[in-house]
């Protein structure tokens, strides 16, 4: 069983499984939307005293923080108990494209050469880790949701605003990948 689960999961198992998580979250009285927890974090930190956007009763959102805490635990369990030491099945063409940008494919989930503490002191590392995170947080709230809220829940509920948001996600992602990456890396 553990061996079976430790293989890389194919898309046709993972995708439906994510949809079922969305359904179960609704069923137990929540919703599937991870970026809302970032707003809750601001509220807990006292931002509501000065900015009305953060002035709400964050105690009603504890369930989502618990869910996100579970996601951290899930990652820990997967890497410690369900790891087959398999190399990520990245396509050859992506490996070649990234090599041209001096990013080596190391077989893990994310390139260690960027995702480490000392890289924070480099321009590239600062852009990826700090600016990248900032844009995700800013954009998610402006758009009213992230991948879970718009691309999965919103599109499943046939919401046109979510479709516009997802089109935006891709416009931004393509600009970053094809126009800005060659400048940064």
């Amino acid at each position: 069983m553990v061996e079976f689960l430790s293989q890389a999961w194919p898309w046709y198992v993972s995708g439906p499984a994510i949809a079922i998580i969305m359904f179960l979250l609704l069923w137990v009285g929540g919703t599937f939307g991870v970026s809302s927890t970032l707003r809750t974090a601001c509220s807990i930190g006292g931002a509501g005293k000065h900015i009305s956007y953060f002035n709400f009763d964050w105690k009603n959102q504890i369930w989502n923080l618990v869910f996100v805490g579970g996601a951290v635990l899930g990652g820990w369990i997967a890497s410690n108990f369900l790891d087959s030491n398999q190399v990520l099945g990245l396509s050859e063409s992506t490996i070649a494209d990234l090599a041209k940008l001096n990013i080596n494919f190391d077989g893990g989930l994310a390139p260690e050469q960027i995702f480490n503490w000392s890289s924070l002191l480099t321009i590239k590392g600062f852009l990826v880790l700090v600016v990248g995170g900032f844009l995700v947080g800013f954009g998610a709230r402006w758009a009213g949701g992230c991948t879970s809220g718009h691309a999965i829940t919103g599109l499943s509920n046939l919401q046109i605003p979510s479709l516009i948001a997802v089109i935006g996600f891709f416009i931004g992602g393509l600009i970053m990948t094809f126009l800005i990456y060659p400048i940064i890396f």
């Binding site: 995708g15 439906p16 996100v68 951290v72």
Partner: protein, 137 residues
């Protein structure tokens, strides 16, 4: 322990996201370069099942475990907020290779520096709150 169900769902979600490699910075690059079907397969099959489940909820008026009908509010229509916000989000998604769910999952996977990414995302959220009234919605 009303929260135990949420932590269990979160754990399963974290495992799915890790084992599907959807948390991978490399996979996000592969997706934006259209070099594999993998991420499109995940999102596409999630949607195929998701649409059916949401239809089921609304048509059969399925109740949640507290006995209330599950409500999914329609989103207010606008183009600018979703398009501009979406573009900013997409720029960050391709740069950091992680949307909010994967940020937390990768932290559990041992990439401790994601604390900084999450902190920056919270700062981005705070800045949005600060500038909200000046942005088109």
């Amino acid at each position: 322990m009303k929260y135990i169900k949420f932590i269990i769902l979160g754990i399963i979600f974290g495992i799915i996201m890790t084992k599907s490699e959807a948390v991978s910075w490399y996979r996000i690059q592969e997706m934006f370069r259209f070099q594999s079907f993998h991420m499109y397969g995940i999102i596409g099959s999630a949607l195929a099942v998701g649409v059916i489940l949401i239809q089921l909820i609304t048509r059969k008026q399925i109740k949640n475990i507290e006995g209330n009908a599950i409500q999914l509010a329609d989103k207010n229509f606008s183009i600018s907020r979703y398009l501009f916000g979406g573009i900013i989000f997409g720029l960050g998604w391709a740069l950091s290779g992680a949307c909010p769910g994967p940020m937390f999952t990768l932290l559990g996977n041992g990439f401790s520096v994601f604390i900084v990414v999450i902190g920056s995302a919270i700062l981005g959220t705070f800045t949005y709150g600060l500038l909200k009234d000046k942005l088109p919605h």
